[in-house]
Symmetry: C2
Subunit: 87 residues, 2 copies
């Protein structure tokens, strides 16, 4: 793991933003119980991609990439579950 | 830029998956012209985050991070445009 520098800090802010972006979608889907306007393919592809990003983060030992994608994967999985449940 | 190794290849596959994930959502929103079930906050946050990821990619000179986020930013901006247009 590299030293905690400015670039890592920026990466962590980016990580917090992209990861937290799935929270309002999860809350909205949970409340509305409607998913017609959401693309199943979007969340299948982004879920698979996020999983690979996480593996990539471990390979390049990059903290922001690992942390962001680990949490995002859980959130996207929950949105996918609701999308399939309320399709 | 580091050499083109296995980790970079995996990163590029991850990049293609997460970036291409926005295409089916864009197509769906374009066709349906309905965005009720989509969270505006999700796409605002992910757009801001993707922009910072792109800057981060330049700082750490990481090809997959730069490429993925550059294309994703355009796609997310288009989805945001449609979300605001058909809110």
């Amino acid at each position: 793991m590299e030293k905690f520098d400015g670039a890592t800090l920026l990466g962590l802010v980016a990580a917090v933003l992209t990861t937290s972006s799935f929270v309002p979608q999860l809350v909205r889907t949970w409340r509305l119980r409607e998913t017609k306007d959401i693309s199943l393919w979007m969340f299948l592809l982004i879920g698979a991609g996020i999983f690979l990003w996480m593996v990539y983060g471990f390979l390049i030992r990059d903290l922001p990439v690992i942390a962001a994608n680990m949490v995002s994967f859980v959130l996207v999985s929950l949105i996918l579950y609701l999308k399939i449940k309320y399709r």
